[in-house]
Symmetry: none
Subunit: 242 residues, 2 copies
């Protein structure tokens, strides 16, 4: 099995079938094989197959889901692609940094790279499901890449990094579900403590997801954090009920 | 004038107008502006404009020539794109090596990057006009990139190299003192909560330092974390003194 078999390219609500075909082709160019389509468009003309130009197998084996949540459920790290624009968009890495960091994780962990729809990219709910964000460096005057070009650049960086170093650190990252359970627990305790309220809940939870996302939590990290939250939850609750 | 204005993308006998439009778009994404078309196809449907998606100016300003020789006449360095396959293909560099080497030359020199037609690439006569060759790393099983993907990867490497040296991602990491103050605060609250005791204090604080260390905390992260600890500390203390 190739290292890159543990990478999934996830396309969310793509509009144009031809783009899906072009993505399949560049995936195959760069040694990627797992394609997941979240609510893909109808393709009456077979445009996807035409533009796949020989990468038909990737399209035939593509998994289709109704939500991004389903698509990434069995992945341990979910990396979203974004633009540099916008507030709250600190902590955005480059495809090159990301590739160098995730290749050593690939032997033990399935990793998803998520691309939003043409023009608008990923929406807020999708972004919230991503542990990390990357943006492709591009001209400030005209930053929006064609979807298949964006996948091509990211896949190219992964291909190069996967051939670069055979290092493996053997870390097992927490699964998406485990992460979500932790964030739920965290949010509950922070609400009980009064730290979170309607005015800051969304914003603050996004910041905390980014903060913990950067550390690529492992299962043992999650266990420690649950332990802390449970230890704190007792006194926090009992004060609440005074 | 931008450095990259001295780079020309030269497309030789492209067959599909849509590919020319897609090339124009990714050139503009990556800050390139000079497009030269050697014997381009007729484009009755305006496919090129459609796929240029806003990069019309590049198409309108494109220079058209009858031969590659004319196209590169006023350039000082001509770099051809090729495949790794084939005999006689010594001295083939990568786009990354090329980008690193030519960016320092750009202030004084106009440089052409030449891409052959779909499927077949550049023929022998074209290759003979190139001073150097590069090939995009790709899977041996399926090496042939879509024309606009090939241009996208090469343009991306140029863009990055042209912006490389004075890089600044604008992140301000927390200072050691700030980190230590946070760990002290954390330890205090965790001791009050009963989570930490003499039996696990050392071991657990080491794990937590590793956990937070991995996320390369910034100053604003530290502020959020102090806020959480303070919000929790109240109830934790009051329980303690019951």
């Amino acid at each position: 099995m190739d290292l890159l078999d543990n990478v999934s390219i996830v396309l969310v609500r793509t509009k144009t079938p031809g783009n899906i075909g072009a993505v399949a082709r560049c995936m195959m160019n760069m040694g990627l094989s797992r394609l997941v389509l979240v609510r893909p468009p109808k393709d009456d003309q077979g445009e996807a197959m035409k533009l796949a130009a020989g990468a038909d197998a990737i399209l035939r084996n593509a998994v289709t889901t109704g939500t991004l949540q389903e698509a990434v459920a069995d992945h341990r790290l979910v990396i979203g692609t974004s633009r540099h624009l916008g507030r709250n968009r600190r902590n955005i890495g480059t495809p090159r940094e990301m590739a160098g960091q995730i290749v050593p994780l690939l032997p033990q962990n399935r990793i998803a790279l998520v691309f939003g729809r043409e023009v608008n990219g990923l929406d807020k709910e999708d972004l919230a499901l991503c542990n990390e964000l990357i943006a492709i460096p591009s001209s400030a005057a005209f930053p929006s890449l064609n979807l298949s070009h964006a996948v091509a650049v990211v896949a190219y960086e992964l291909f190069i990094a996967s051939r670069a170093s055979p290092s493996s650190r053997g870390r097992t990252l927490a699964q998406t579900e485990e992460l979500e359970a932790f964030y739920e627990h965290l949010q509950m305790v922070l609400e009980d403590s009064g730290f979170l309220g309607p005015h800051n809940r969304k914003h603050m939870m996004t910041s905390l997801r980014q903060l913990f996302g950067k550390s690529r939590l492992e299962q043992r990290d999650i266990n420690i954090l649950h332990g802390i939250l449970s230890a704190i939850a007792g006194p926090v609750r009992s004060k609440d009920s005074e």
